[in-house]
Point group: C2
Chain length 320, copies 2
């Protein structure tokens, strides 16, 4: 069974003078917003800074001045953003950022990035970029263009691991696996000391985790199936520094790093990424909204021949 | 302007006891067959062994015992193969091989590989494979399963170059470029001494070349646009041995080699591919139809940061 793990991602930042997303917007609004992209809220944790919702397809985090939503599968995240734009007074909105990465099964998606940005462009001025080459891993980023400038300390990180090792894939597809087993597999206690955690094991495979501590968050989404395995980490804690630990567990054939406002990206990569990995793509740009964005794709050179994947002619194993 | 250069490819082999594709099938049949996938014949060359048609989307070669067709863009090649199966007595058919590589814009295609193989499987028993990982360059291969076994000397080669150098892309998108200029660019006289050549320069960009000599063929298809550049070489002459010459001209960021029945693939790669390129994928298998298939993807490591591609929000430059 194949599943499109690759997430669409959006962050909306508001000017919280007279309006606070955490207190002035109730959960039924978020439920409605999530439903617009064909996802559902599974569970919720919160602290004084943040509410974190686990979704049937990924995650939603809400702070006083912003929300972040990631959705995978064939969800239509742009519809959720449009719902927000239509229901919240636009004078509150400082910034909309919408991202989409290349999918495993892009032919099965209900829209492509350019379809999505056409919708967003009806509501705001914006710019769009592709970080990475078309024939390889790439991230599309759309952002609103206005007077908003991101604070330098507003840093976020993504680590996206592809084609995890056979052993990791086998461990994560073990029937009857408990959430605790998966936490242990990722050494969550070591990775996230003192975080409040909410996680869910999907049937037959798949795992999602939300973790929060003060205003810090980390979310992990696991699509462990051998032929299209994908594990994503998104956080405002420094994932480049944690990369070695994560890569040791997953041993992916390829992974991407995407950072916003990490000025020491190059030095940190040098210090934390093993020379077993070769950089296939390195792209950076300071966007006009102030974010300094770095994208890197790393691959492990292949030294030995493997066998091809044999496909079921019913098409079950190579279409979504 | 974007164009999907990636080809779908099919080869059909017949038992030419009482039936010869070269003499017993007329050009109007091929015209009809080509029309089934929404392509057209532009021109034709021939010698005593082979007819070579240049198509509006790629090429068709016909020999006494087989034909080979490659079509790019959003053509539906499987429909042409179905036309052949419905109009030629199936007792003549020894083998059908149908291939498709990952596209730049797979969401814009009218079908995916599994859709195509479902159609083929209605007419024959077959097997299907994916050579290469889902998140990276890969080739899908379907072949008929019957008693046919390929002759060891039946060798073919593909060299597929992606993201050619800026200089190569600029040269090949020069307005008013003549076919002779492009032949000179590729050093065709050196590459193909004594071959009969038919070529065509498309508006505003693009170039196709068919070359034949006795039963040998080579076809080149060029999609030179910087953001999605792609140049393919398909031949029954040894492209691994010619690779260094081709790569020196195009300097692609990445390229694939695909060979049928090249037993010395590994040694030839070692001898002919510069160590500037790293192997990202190496896959081999002897298919039950006797073909020994090797697939390799090579990349040039990226050592310096580049800028992202800025996209037009009308979507013109990132959708087909």
């Amino acid at each position: 069974m194949f599943f499109e793990g690759s997430e669409k991602k959006a962050e909306v930042i508001i000017n919280n003078n007279n309006f606070c997303l955490l207190n002035d917007v109730n959960d039924s609004f978020w439920q409605e917003l999530v439903a617009c992209c064909n996802a559902q809220i599974i569970s919720r944790i919160s602290n004084e800074n943040c509410k974190a919702f686990l979704l049937s397809e990924s995650s939603l985090f809400v702070w006083t001045d912003r929300f972040l939503i990631l959705t995978c599968g064939v969800t239509t995240l742009v519809n959720s953003i449009e719902y927000f734009l239509k229901n919240i007074d636009n004078s509150h909105i400082n910034q909309v950022i919408y991202q989409r990465k290349n999918e495993y099964f892009s032919h099965a998606q209900l829209s492509c990035f350019s379809d999505d940005t056409k919708i967003l462009a009806q509501h705001m001025n914006g710019k769009a970029y592709r970080f990475g080459e078309m024939d390889s891993h790439h991230n599309y980023i759309f952002h609103q263009e206005n007077s908003f400038i991101a604070a330098p300390e507003d840093k976020t990180y993504g680590l996206l691991a592809y084609q995890i090792s056979e052993q990791a894939s086998r461990s994560l597809t073990t029937p009857g696996l408990s959430a605790q087993c998966i936490r242990d597999f990722f050494n969550i206690d070591l990775l996230l000391p003192g975080f409040l955690i909410d996680d869910f094991v999907f049937e037959p495979y798949g795992y999602s985790l939300n973790a929060i501590k003060n205003d810090k968050y980390l979310t992990i989404h696991v699509t462990p199936q051998a032929m299209s395995s994908y594990v994503s980490f998104e956080s405002n804690i420094d994932l480049v520094e944690l990369a070695a630990q994560i890569l040791a567990v997953l041993q992916p054939a390829s992974f991407d790093l995407l950072s916003f406002n990490e000025l020491d990206f190059v030095d940190k990569v040098q210090a934390n990424i093993s020379s077993d990995y070769i950089s296939k793509a390195l792209v950076k740009q300071t966007l006009t909204n102030g974010y300094f964005v770095c994208f890197a794709n790393f691959i492990k050179p292949q030294l030995h021949f493997s066998k091809p994947a044999q496909l079921d002619l019913t098409g079950e194993d190579h279409a979504l």
